[in-house]
């Protein structure tokens, strides 16, 4: 009886496991690009990337990034998944009602908005140029005017929060889960 069972089993049992199917990681964001566009259409760009995703390598930032003093910029942020060659920006925009970008910066980096951003204090001002279907800000596109004083190595932090079912006009950087939390370094020159 047991021997019959063993024979019977032989039919089912392979010696090799199946090859796993490749999976496209559609969630990871590996490259974040900040595009600062001034009035005349000149674009200044900096990229933060983490090509190994959950690997141990830290995020890499470009060496130096400089904006002009007292200049008005439109910032648009590109989110990209290089493992899968996929643009995530559009996905976030489609789900604007459950995402929001928050910002914080060193005092003096910008003259407008004034203050130091809306991460530590959710009531801080940021000039959002886009919004979701409920009229709440998204933050993929924002408006900025740089400060008047020349300076180096100032912090510019962006946080993208995923706030499914909880996003309101009052929710801040403390609510929901973090999809992005990066701090860029920006210098100002005349």
């Amino acid at each position: 009886m047991p021997f019959l069972m063993l024979l019977f089993l032989g039919f089912f049992i392979a010696c090799e496991p199946e090859d796993p199917d490749p999976e496209n990681d559609e969630e990871s964001i590996t490259d974040i690009t900040l595009n600062f566009v001034d009035d005349s259409g000149n674009t200044l760009t900096t990229v933060a990337s983490d090509p190994d995703g959950d690997g141990p390598e830290d995020v890499q930032f470009e060496e130096s990034f400089t904006l002009k003093t007292s200049t008005q910029y439109t910032l648009s942020i590109d989110l990209f998944n290089s493992m899968n060659n996929e643009d995530i920006t559009q996905e976030v925009q489609e789900e604007a009602a459950e995402h929001q970008m928050f910002f914080a910066w060193s005092d003096g980096l910008f003259s407008d908005p004034s203050g130091t951003g809306n991460i530590a204090d959710a009531t801080g001002t940021v000039n959002y140029s886009d919004s979701d279907s409920n009229g709440n800000p998204l933050g993929i596109v924002t408006e900025w005017t740089t400060g008047t004083e020349v300076g180096t190595e100032r912090d510019f932090q962006i946080i993208l929060k995923h706030q499914p079912d909880i996003k309101t006009a009052d929710t801040g950087a403390q609510d929901g889960e973090t999809d992005i939390d990066l701090t860029f370094t920006i210098s100002l020159e005349d």
Partner: protein
């Protein structure tokens, strides 16, 4: 027969059986020289029934029981007979007796009682090891824990605790070891599941078993790899041949979580077979902590089983059973954190950040499981031996859903199927020169497959593995001593295929040879004192999860043993390792268990002392903090080290009076990693518990039991070092102060304070009705448990009031 004598006689009887009769006691060979022996006892009090009539129906031979309830009918010619056992005021019962079966123990139920009279063919422990510390849940314990998970039921046995991931996910822990360091035997079939993570509770409906037994010893010699901490044995209740149709239907209700359940069971014994059909359904909504709702902590369970036995001849029995379990388990919504800052916000919050209105909806994060099992067993018994062969098939489907971006929300991020085929052979031979024992073997085949479409890199690879084992356990009985000696040889081969983060294929093969053994002694000093001691070894190959896991789990990043290497003090994960580049040794455990029990008329005391050394213990330790796009995340790497664990369990009961009794229990355990002398994380803190029982004598009721239980759990003082989230965030990877590659495991929070919980329960029986009323956490105490991962995010469940009602026919 005074009730004060309580159960002293049968307990001694039990001990005697425990010593001498764990396996089959074989009858005489010559026809007409067969002897039928046994005891007749009261089912509720365990007292012997003196003068009960026992009759062999076919021949009219008969006798009546003596002072200790013992009977003996000699010169029986028939191989199979029908015994009729009767006693005034008790339900008469008929038992189909085979000459090859052991001493019978007949439990008669009083006429008015809802219980049925039953037969136990020798106090058969299911363990197959007779010198270990083995404990079984009593019928009342099982009854009062109706509707609770398996893990929760088992905590009534001293030394068994749980590791929880909230109220719905409880993994049993035996002497500090859990998951794939213990083995669960489901009706003789090794439960195969994704045991590589402690937040994967075994997919078992504890309510579909009537016997739950725990071996608190390393039992690899009988059960194969992984049985380092112990073994949990789950069995159904045997059904008598030619027994009438019986059915039991129950309704369960719980206030906290607005939970409800239906349980039903139908059993029937035919002339040549038995059948049992069981079905349990359960639904629970969001649970409440004392001060707030815990959103997304609902759960549903549906379990069905069919068990049959065919009595082919007096020698041969065929058993066939199938079961199906489906569970959907919600995990607290507010426990999802993206990075260290999120974790810090959650730790500092007084209550969970997301609190919605009560709902039965189970949204991500959640686990969905389907576990199916089919089993076919053939047992041959004759005068000299018993031979059992069993084939089983299991299919375990696990889907885990995380909170993902919009359109991915209903796509599981882990979707794996594990299929297992197991063949068991066991030969039990009869006593020969004081020697008896088992010889057997096991062959197991596992096939694990990731089901495509998760849109994320698979956390564990595809693999197949073959395991083969051969064992022999012999027992030498002489006088008051029983010596036990056993050895086992195991071979395991695994073939692995997985994809790394870049979707590049990696292949790996693993082979292990291992030997394990047991040396044990049971000594009956006198009628009051029994001592057992055994030294045993167990082994465990590294699980696929421990070798190959890669990536994010919650706010942490984890790398398995073969997914990283350390170059010049820095981690690198570019190459997937193998046995050649990074040799891994199997875990090897040595465990010494002493068990001393003292039994007197009014007292019962049992103490278990245990000590283990585990070499090459696999655990997760810090690997630094990685800066990711999502912010800072701590990295954990799997590594091996030697550990020790020791502890003691204590249990006692005292009958003050015929209606009043007390139970007292206590446990203590300590375990350290040897190289760093740092505590093993998540070991249960010490606990003492006291129960006062009152059996009210109310004329109208058949049974009216009340009990009050108070349980004090100490703070875990012996906990790993604390590294706060602040310190982790401030950690400089190039100059680590707080958290480096060489550090032992740490915790981000102090262990929770001690807590004192009180439960009240009431069990009432009248005719065919049985009602259980319970209040748990009577004073609605807010507390957090050290062994619950949800302690970082929420208090434990508040007051729970539950009621269940059963009707039997």
């Amino acid at each position: 027969m005074s009730k004060q004598s309580y159960n002293s006689v049968p307990k001694i009887f039990t001990l005697a059986i425990f010593l001498f009769g764990v396996n089959f006691c074989f009858a005489q060979t010559d026809p007409c020289e067969r002897v039928i022996q046994g005891y007749v006892l009261d089912i509720e009090t365990d007292e012997p029934l003196i003068g009960a009539a026992v009759l062999v129906q076919e021949t009219g031979q008969g006798t009546s029981t003596g002072l200790d309830g013992f009977f003996e009918i000699i010169n029986v010619c028939e191989e199979e007979t029908d015994l009729v056992i009767s006693y005034l005021g008790y339900k008469k019962m008929k038992h189909h007796h085979d000459a090859h079966h052991p001493i019978v123990k007949v439990y008669l139920a009083a006429d008015g009682s809802m219980l049925e009279s039953i037969i136990v063919e020798a106090e058969r422990m299911y363990s197959g090891i007779s010198t270990g510390a083995i404990q079984r849940l009593t019928e009342d314990q099982m009854l009062l824990a109706t509707g609770e998970s398996l893990g929760s039921k088992l905590t009534q046995i001293p030394g068994v605790t749980t590791i929880q991931n909230g109220q719905n996910l409880m993994s049993p822990v035996i002497h500090g070891l859990t998951g794939n360091r213990i083995v669960i035997m489901n009706q003789g079939v090794r439960h195969e599941y994704q045991s590589w993570d402690t937040d994967h509770a075994p997919e078992i409906d504890g309510d579909s078993y009537q016997t739950i037994e725990v071996i608190k010893g390393a039992a690899s010699v009988r059960y194969g790899a992984d049985a380092l901490g112990g073994v949990i044995l789950l069995e159904g209740k045997p059904i008598e041949l030619s027994s009438p149709l019986s059915a039991r239907i129950g309704l369960l209700g719980m206030v906290n979580g607005r939970a409800g359940g239906v349980q039903s069971q139908v059993r029937k014994g035919f002339k040549n077979g038995t059948v049992e059909l069981q079905s349990n359904l359960y639904q629970q909504g969001d649970l409440n902590a004392p001060e707030y709702i815990m959103t997304n902590t609902g759960m549903t369970t549906a379990s069905h089983s069919l068990r049959t036995r065919f009595h082919l001849s007096s020698n041969l029995d065929l058993e066939a059973s199938i079961s199906d379990l489906r569970q959907k388990i919600g995990i607290l919504r507010s426990s999802v954190v993206g990075n260290l800052d999120d974790l810090e916000i959650a730790l500092n919050a007084k209550s969970p950040s997301i609190q919605d209105d009560f709902s039965y909806e189970i949204a991500p994060p959640r686990q969905q499981i389907v576990h199916r099992m089919g089993r076919l067993a053939l047992e041959y018994v004759d005068d000299h031996q018993a031979f059992k062969t069993q084939y089983s098939y299991q299919r375990n489907l696990r889907e885990e859903y995380d909170v993902r971006r919009g359109n991915q929300l209903e796509i599981p991020n882990i979707n794996v199927q594990l299929e297992s085929h197991i063949v068991d052979l066991d030969w039990t031979h009869s006593s020969w020169n004081h020697l008896d024992g088992h010889i057997g073997g096991q062959w197991k085949f596992n096939d694990n497959r990731n089901i495509p479409g998760t849109n994320t890199v698979s956390f564990i690879p595809n693999y197949i593995s073959h395991t083969a084992g051969l064992y022999a356990i012999e027992r030498y009985t002489k006088g008051q001593f029983v010596w036990e000696l056993g050895a086992r040889l195991d071979y395991q081969f695994s073939n692995i295929r997985g994809l790394d983060a870049n979707n590049d294929l990696y292949l790996s093969q693993l082979q292990f040879f291992n030997t394990s053994g047991i040396l044990g002694l049971a000594y009956q000093l006198n009628e009051h004192i029994q001592y057992t001691s055994n030294i045993s070894t167990a082994w465990r190959p590294p699980s696929i999860g421990e070798l190959f896991r890669f990536g994010r789990r919650g706010s942490f990043i984890e790398y398995g043993l073969w997914r990283y290497q350390v170059d010049d003090g820095r981690l690198s994960t570019t190459e997937v390792q193998d046995q050649e580049s990074k040799p891994i040794t199997a875990e090897q455990a040595f465990k010494w268990v002493h068990d001393i029990s003292f039994q007197q008329e009014k007292w019962f005391v049992q103490t278990t002392l245990h000590g283990s050394l585990i070499n090459n213990y696999i655990y997760a330790r810090p690997g630094g903090v990685s800066q990711t796009i999502r912010g800072a995340a701590p990295v954990f790497i799997y590594d091996q080290d030697n550990v020790w664990i020791w502890g003691a369990d204590f249990q006692s009961s005292w009958n003050h009076h015929q209606q009043w009794s007390s139970d007292f229990s206590a446990r203590y355990i300590q375990g350290h990693i040897r190289s760093s002398d740092s505590p093993i994380p998540m070991l249960a803190p010490a606990q003492v518990a006291y129960t006062l029982n009152y059996k009210a004598d109310i004329p109208w009721f058949d049974k009216f039991n009340l009990s009050w239980n108070s349980e004090y759990t100490f703070q875990q003082w012996d906990q790993p070092p604390i590294v706060t989230v602040d310190q982790l965030i401030a950690n400089d990877p190039d100059n680590p102060i707080n958290y480096s590659l060489e550090d032992p495991p740490f915790d981000v929070l102090e262990s929770p304070e001690a807590f004192f919980l009180h439960d009240l329960s009431c069990l009432v029986q009248k005719d065919r009705w049985q009602v259980i009323l319970q209040v748990q956490n009577v004073f609605n105490e807010s507390y957090r448990s050290y062994t619950d991962r949800m302690r970082y995010f929420t208090d434990n469940i508040g007051r729970q009031i539950n009621a269940s009602i059963f009707y039997s026919i």
